[in-house]
């Protein structure tokens, strides 16, 4: 996973609230591929499906009204959007698809929980800013397309030209994972002794909680 330290990039506006993971990665996408399981596992091939039913007409031609199809937004690495982004299904393909079209950061007033975790796991930085700051950034990138924002994970700030610097918060554990592009499983496996000890005590106290195959 690519570490996230600082990013200076064009930002695209998607001024919708409650964008769900069916919007981001439609399940119908799965049937388009020859091998369904490859569609689920080949993370590099997912970009074609990002926002597919918004980016493309039913006949497959690009929808020119969708911001990510417009220049210079088609070169964006940052998406600025509305509240509750990523609600709905837990499908991680949604994040893989966004990463697949080159996005590295999403700025929104709020995110759905599972989606937020999936972002962190994949090195896509979710930045939560208050409504009014998101609106301000949105107005700048809409009014002056091609404006580059600076997102700095060390200082936890977003800099928007002409509008100043906005601080955001992120848990230090998540920041650490993103900052170093860490393999979380590898890190947890370092704690295997603690897990072993816990597990032994747990099932001694709660023998009924042992799974059965009856």
């Amino acid at each position: 996973m690519q570490p996230f330290i600082t990013l200076t990039a064009i930002a695209a506006p998607l001024p919708w609230g409650d964008v769900n993971t069916d919007d981001i990665f439609p399940a119908a996408a799965l049937k388009k591929s020859g091998s369904g399981t490859a569609m689920m596992t080949d993370r590099k091939a997912m970009g074609a499906n990002a926002f597919r039913q918004h980016r493309f007409h039913p006949d497959g031609t690009p929808n020119p009204d969708f911001p990510l199809n417009q220049s210079p937004y088609d070169r964006s690495q940052i998406l600025v959007t509305g509240r509750n982004f990523g609600c709905g299904s837990s499908r991680e393909m949604a994040v893989w698809a966004l990463v697949g079209i080159g996005l590295r950061c999403i700025i929104a007033p709020s995110f759905a929980d599972i989606f937020y975790s999936n972002c962190v796991t994949n090195g896509l930085l979710p930045v939560t800013l208050p409504d009014d700051q998101v609106s301000l950034v949105m107005s700048v990138i809409t009014g002056q397309p091609g404006t580059e924002l600076v997102v700095d994970l060390d200082t936890q700030t977003v800099t928007c030209p002409g509008k100043g610097q906005f601080e955001f918060t992120i848990g230090s554990y998540h920041r650490h994972l993103l900052r170093h592009g860490l393999d979380e499983i590898g890190a947890t496996l370092q704690r295997v002794e603690a897990i072993d000890n816990y597990e032994a005590r747990y099932f001694e106290e709660r023998p009924w909680a042992l799974p059965t195959t009856r």
Binding site: D18, P26, K31, S35, T37, N118, T121, G171, Y173, A209
Partner: protein, 477 residues
Amino acid sequence: MSTKTAVTRKPVAAEPKTLYRKIWDSHVIDELEDGTCLLYVDRQLIYEGAIPAFAGLKAANRAVRRPAATVAMADHMVGTWIGTPQSDAVNNFVDTLSDNCADAGIEYLGLDDERRGIVHVVGPEQGITQPGLVMVCPDSHTSSHGALGALAFGVGASQLEHVLATQTILQRPVPTMRLLLRGQLSAPVAAKDVILAVIGRIGVDGATGHALEFAGPIIDQLDIPGRLTLCNMAIEAGARYATIAPDDVTFDWLRTAPRSPRGADWDRAEAFWRTLRTDDGAVFDRDITIDLGDLSPQVSWGTAPDMVVGIDDRVPDPDSAPDADKAAAWRRALDYMDLRPGTAITDIAVDRVFIGSCTNSRLEDLRAAADVVRGRTIADHVTAIVVPGSGLVKKAAEAEGLDTIFLEAGFEWRSPGCSMCFANPNEVVGPQQRCASTSNRNFENRQGPGARTHLVSPAMAAAAGIAGRFVDVREMH
């Protein structure tokens, strides 16, 4: 014996605790600097969505830590036509999952196993789901299992990979929220109407990032299938966890479940489970009471589950939306749904009916629909399907003759699977077609490109199929 937090490293706290906190505290293995906890996971249910996790484990040459903690079955992609072989594409998913499980030593319920079905139906039915357990599944509707007092949540494929490799997950504790539900429920008004009305009031992000506990007189009136419907859709309000304190209704359900503890184990388990309730005096970060009064059947009109009104109501006017953002969202929704403000819900015609999904495919749901259908036939222009949630639900329904009632009325009777809840390779609602659906999401394109979904209860879906438009099922009883 002590039933408190004896297996955690933290000292036993004397202050009153919420149910959520009790389960959480007893599963904390370690705490990191910012409150992130390494949490023990008891069990996981998996389906085709786990395939990327197995691919990840294989690529990193990692083993599944505790195969017995996982039960697998195919549900999302399987075709549900009885007697029709699965397509090659479906077999590709099913065989890959089955091979992954065989390699890891994980129990896999095959397509012909009568216990197989939708994971969120099978878990509670088999007694895999139990109070006090931490459970995950790579599906957002895992919140369902909180209906029996488990702390259950959906995870992404990478997080599932972490759980399979370590039997743990890293999470931060979240704020708590209690929804105290008051009111009277009388059939055919059902749990589905309750949860749609609740989401309509609090919004699709009304519980985002919260550990939600349902409580109050409405819960006391609900059986386990109804409680499962409620917790199932808590994710549609954004809740990370949804819980209901286990009670005699829960214990009666579990007593006959195949995988429940037996004998002395049952006695110890039940004694422990009875402690799994929010203590008097425990404080929730948010404590909300909703009086549903005499609730009418609910119908969603838009493209998010909070866009919902009563059957006796009308499609709302975006000009009356609470703010400009909502007004814009309502306009987009009305455009997609091809509806005009002020249209009576009972004037909306339907083309399709889907009775099924992890929200509403249990025996009680099918009975509620069959009560409406009995002796009637569906409207000429409607196609309708009934998809039981598991092989055992199907078998029990057939033993009661429900399949005959549906078939004689013109419904298709199917085998178990997620089916038309989402646009999977087999089951789609056609472009611009309108579907009365007992599923959980009315998103754009959810049931197929261009499909228009209206979320309703099983009884309301059945009634819409018969009338060819939405009707108040109370007038058909």
